[in-house]
């Protein structure tokens, strides 16, 4: 599959200012030297706990936030460096779906206007064509045509998320960045939306970056998974591999604490002490070392980079840990 997006050493930090002159006194390092590639038609899941930088990553990729450093190569164009004017024709190729369907739709606009607006802004089609497109889109996301004349408040969370999806696919984008699109929904509705995303992906050949804190949801929808911790990608690989054979101690710990509906399974054991360090003052060396059960003095020296392990070969499963070989298969699924 051809490559659609390549991210090289992408970082994003937010300055912290103080005093009347707004002097910069530090910075929140939200995304740190993140690199990955995503191929056409693929779904990359990004998981991590709150504050790990997954949302900032999504918003930086779409240039809602300006990258602090690094490159975003989208379809062989240096997307990260385009200025506002040059950016405009490319914006439509990347669309976003947000978590909260209650605040992402303008309450004063009819559903028809919400869905047609991207077409109008990009001056695509005649009035008539836009109308037809909106009708086609609303049916594609599983809502009746009559919905178009109604307003967001008349819809439930699941239906609103369908409308948000219709708006996102309206410009025939190549890449969809979905930031926790099902987290605000009840489980019975969550599965409807996941099925819809999968079927639209097949139908339209979409590439999806699926950001979520819910490991089971990410596992279900993703071809590959990137695990983030304190703004770093600490493990990336094929979804099955990451789940069956996690290499990083953090991934192992995360998988252990997913509550399971299987009562026969060993009950969850929280083996992670403490909490996330501050992203203002990152630990030296390995970002995870302050909570890692296997930490050694050397972990404070160099920051481990993503690398292949001999044992797994070059199957795209990479981990950022100095001692991944030694820690071995301590995860029992």
């Amino acid at each position: 599959m051809p490559q659609l997006l390549q991210v090289k050493d992408l970082s994003k930090s937010f300055p912290i200012t103080a005093g009347i002159f707004k002097r910069t006194v530090g910075s929140v390092k939200a995304v740190n030297e993140v690199s990955f590639v995503i191929n056409e038609g693929e779904t990359l899941g990004v998981v991590g706990e709150s504050g790990c930088g997954k949302t900032t990553l999504g918003r930086t990729l779409i240039r809602l936030y300006e990258p602090s450093s690094g490159e975003i190569i989208f379809k062989n164009i240096n997307f990260g460096q385009l200025d506002e004017h040059e950016l405009r024709p490319y914006r439509r190729h990347i669309q976003m779906i947000f978590q909260d369907p209650y605040s992402s739709l303008n309450p004063r606009m009819s559903i028809r206007r919400i869905i047609e607006e991207p077409l109008a802004i990009n001056k695509i089609g005649s009035l008539k064509e836009r109308e037809q497109k909106a009708e086609k889109l609303i049916e594609m996301v599983g809502l009746p045509r009559s919905c178009l004349e109604r307003f967001p408040h008349e819809f439930s969370g699941g239906q609103r998320q369908r409308i948000a999806i219709a708006r996102a696919i309206c410009l025939d984008p190549d890449l969809i960045i979905a930031d926790e699109p099902v987290s605000a929904l009840d489980v019975s509705i969550q599965s409807q939306i996941l099925n819809l995303l999968v079927s639209l992906q097949k139908m339209l050949g979409l590439t999806i970056i699926f950001i979520s804190h819910d490991l089971l949801v990410v596992k279900y929808i993703s071809d590959r998974i990137a695990v983030m911790y304190l703004g770093f990608i600490i493990e990336i690989g094929p979804a099955d591999q990451v789940f069956k054979n996690p290499l990083h101690p953090y991934t192992k710990a995360l998988l252990k604490v997913i509550p399971s509906i299987d009562r026969h399974k060993k009950k969850l054991a929280s083996n992670l002490e403490g909490e996330l360090p501050s992203p203002i003052d990152l630990p030296s060396g390995c970002p995870f070392r302050t909570r890692c059960p296997h930490q050694k003095p050397e972990c404070a020296q160099d920051r481990p980079l993503l690398r292949d392990l001999k044992r797994t070969g070059a199957n795209g499963h990479q981990v950022a840990c100095h001692y991944a070989e030694e820690i071995g298969d301590t995860h029992e699924p």
Partner: protein
Amino acid sequence: MTSANTLLDVQDLRVSFRSDDGVFDAVSGLNFELAVGKTLALVGESGCGKSVTSLAIMNLLPENGLISDGQIRFMGRNLVPLSFKEMAKIRGNDIAMIFQEPMTALNPVYTIGQQVGEVFKIHHNLSRKEINKHTQEILERVKIPEAEKRMREYPFQLSGGMRQRVLIAMALACNPKILIADEPTTALDVTIQAQIIALIKELQEDMQMGILFITHDLGVVAEIADDVMVMYGGKVVEKANADSLFTSPEHPYTQALLASIPKPGDSKENPLATIPGMVPSIKEQFGGCRFRNRCPHAYVDCEKVPQFKAIDHEHSVACHLRNSDAPASAS
């Protein structure tokens, strides 16, 4: 069936809400018992009436809500007719509650020590020195590191997990017999959630509280519950011992709910099970089984209200399909 071990015995509880369009039942025909040292999970989707149930027990219903029928017996005493003042003595002392959002449940302008200490002040009338001593003890008990220092800090200085620990400390300060936990881990990350669940279990072991655990997350239920009640549209549809519920769910709603959660082995080649449509609003008053318009097995009998039937001594379900004369195709 009420035994000496029963802390809470809820009988035929009905909670109604007044609105501009009339009066609606948010919860009706609710029966359950909570025993010493046991955890009963109340599970369901938004709007099923699970939080309303907890607020009714605490007598904290909003102004337009009232308990229109039934009894809530705490150790034999009916709480429903009690005045707000009488109830205030029970609340916090005997029945305590923790909430979902640990940020909004704490007052941002008082220190942690002041807020936890207030519990001792109100319920025990102790001196300042004793209050501080007790506060520090209880904070250490919920495993807040450097409790003495944390006491002087404000809620914004604490992480979500630490704030939830503070709330648990406040709830447990008076050794309550019952703890009502309303989605206590929903706002937390999974690693922190695991810590909080472990803490609640450990404290229950020590103090033998009965816990009413309200959640929408069946995974969390499987981790913590002894017994489970599944609610849908203001009614309990299935009640069972947790092992029995997860191995052989009987109600079509419970079955569908369990099936719609992605499992580690699922692949996107196979669509997830879904429940068509959505949860009915409490204002949609239709007779019979509340689930019938979404149920794949619905048949003519479902227009009548299903009775609660015991399958065995620890599993009962409200579904016509479990009657002997139901169509054979459905199970």
